[in-house]
Point group: C3
Chain length 135, copies 3
């Protein structure tokens, strides 16, 4: 399978990182099919949202509101509140699929492929990009 792993710097604070450019470069020239983006981590997710107008910050805020980084969680390893990072992938899944037509992502105008990383303990992340040809 056409599949490769890229490294994305996420730093030491919760972040939404736009990786559309890397995804687009990966499928360029590949014809028709499906792009599969996958994060092989248990404390990160992927989302297709708009970036650059505040929605990335809004998504992190929603994650904080819905899954507070406090002491409620059974999972107690890592930084305080880290247990919620492990719950995140249940709601913000660690995969995304995007149609590819003639080597181009068929995203809407305002959609970006984004890595959602609430976890301050991992400054870099792996992301696997895979291409399934249509025929």
């Amino acid at each position: 399978m056409d599949s490769e792993v890229i490294t994305v710097r996420t730093g030491d604070r919760p972040v939404v990182r736009d990786i559309t450019e890397q995804a687009a470069a990966f499928v360029a020239g590949r014809g028709d099919g499906l792009l599969h983006v996958f994060v092989p981590h248990a404390t990160a997710g992927l989302a297709l949202i708009e970036t650059g107008s505040g929605s990335d910050t809004d998504l992190l805020r929603a994650v904080d509101d819905l899954l507070p980084a406090d002491s409620r969680w059974r999972h107690q390893h890592g930084s305080p509140g880290h247990g919620r990072d492990h719950v995140l992938p249940g709601f913000v899944a660690p995969y995304v699929t995007v149609p590819v037509l003639d080597g181009r992502l068929a995203l809407g105008t305002w959609q970006s492929v984004c890595l959602v990383d609430p976890n301050p303990d991992n400054p870099t992340r792996q992301v696997r990009l895979s291409f399934l040809p249509a025929a």
Copy 2:
């Protein structure tokens, strides 16, 4: 790739629109593979839920409870509270995949393919249906 875009009317109020019929018609006669449903919009999602027994309304209610359409959001374009519509796809993803066997969707008895559109500002939506053959 066998891929086409359909237009779905969602009107000027938040709505869950059942598009199972269109999805089933699209895969009819195509053999085995995977149906990929994709919404190329930044303020809508897709869900596989039961319709006709109130769960579509319940889902909209949950969206309102969890992501209130108020002034908390950084994203401030559009109608008041519209910022939450941009957060929605982080939790209700804009893609869905369904196995197809002998040209039929392998859905459970109570599952429907649904477009979830909380955004009153876009009365029509595009939905891309794509088929990946199994071999």
Copy 3:
């Protein structure tokens, strides 16, 4: 398509059931491609999370907090609060996709394929495993 249905016992209480072993056995020897896991039920979801350190319990807790099993729901069939089980798949989708390389799931060290079943009324569940070869 290489596709089969397995039966998973979920019992009469909300549960997160790790089915990684069955998924790994299904793709063994199949080469490169994509594993598609699908639950043909309207009251269950699938998640890729860590198990064995409390996060499975934490996920059920988050489901209870975010989608309380009370009388608020329009859908009123089944056990009290069952309406929320029908909303769950809107947020915890009933499908998951995982890259397969040389017959092995390309999961991260701490990721498991998990069936999320908040519904006490169905003691067993069907899960469909399908494999899409890369070429």
